[in-house]
């Protein structure tokens, strides 16, 4: 059974600082997703990572995937208040079932 561990659960950081969210998973998978959720809103797709060594960047967010270590990271550079949200990683089990991490609730303080 595929398990996904995400940490930290909560993250409070000052604007301008850097931090990393970690996502570990227990068995091999073809895809890993990062989502952002604002309160009451849909899960917004941030990144889809498909292969070992994949790195994707969008603005102040950068995601990477190490399939050998079964680890993905979401790195935040020079955080701004607008990045405050809950971030989820999800790993695909089979071809359609997403197994999610517990989420990281990020609060960026001005």
């Amino acid at each position: 059974e595929l398990k996904v561990e995400q940490n930290p659960l909560f993250l409070s950081m000052q604007e301008g600082k850097n931090y990393t969210i970690y996502c570990n998973y227990s068995t091999t998978s073809d895809r890993l997703y990062w989502y952002r959720q604002d309160p009451g809103k849909s899960l917004e797709s941030l990144f889809v990572l498909l292969s070992n060594g994949a790195v994707k960047q969008e603005g102040r967010l950068m995601a990477s995937l190490d399939t050998k270590a079964r680890l993905s990271t979401l790195h935040i550079t020079a955080a701004v208040h607008d990045l405050s949200a809950t971030y989820f990683c999800a790993v695909e089990e089979g071809t359609y079932k997403y197994i999610f991490g517990t989420g990281t609730r990020l609060k960026v303080l001005a």
Binding site: G40, S42, V48, Y96, Y98, G101, T102, G103
Partner: protein, 113 residues
């Protein structure tokens, strides 16, 4: 293109009552999924439809939950009778093919008192 929509956004019911949640997928998406997040824990898979057929309902917690997808369009998830532990956020997602990325709705927050 309209996204996945869910109704209601929030429902508060008493233990023992019945609630029906609705999901409208993106037009043209044959695949529809239900997930839920309970008590701030991880989001868990409930079931998967392809058109009107249930392909995988391995995540459905018990027989108090009934999902349907009439005509392969919108889907409903009925909880009858609701229990306190059913409280959480129920998400719906859809995809064109099963191998495509899933697009999620905003969720329905269910509170059972």
């Amino acid at each position: 293109e309209a996204g996945v929509t869910q109704f209601p956004s929030h429902s508060v019911i008493e233990k023992g009552q019945t609630v029906t949640l609705r999901c409208d997928p993106i037009s043209g998406h044959d695949n529809l999924y239900w997930y839920r997040r309970v008590m701030g824990k991880e989001i868990k898979f409930l079931l998967h439809f392809v058109k009107e057929s249930k392909q995988d309902e391995s995540g459905m917690p018990n027989n108090r939950f009934l999902a349907e997808r009439t005509g392969g369009t919108y889907s409903t998830l009925k909880v009858q009778p609701a229990e306190l532990e059913d409280s959480g956020v129920y998400f719906c997602a859809s995809s064109r093919d099963r191998v495509d990325e899933q697009y999620f709705g905003p969720g329905t927050r269910l509170t059972v008192t």
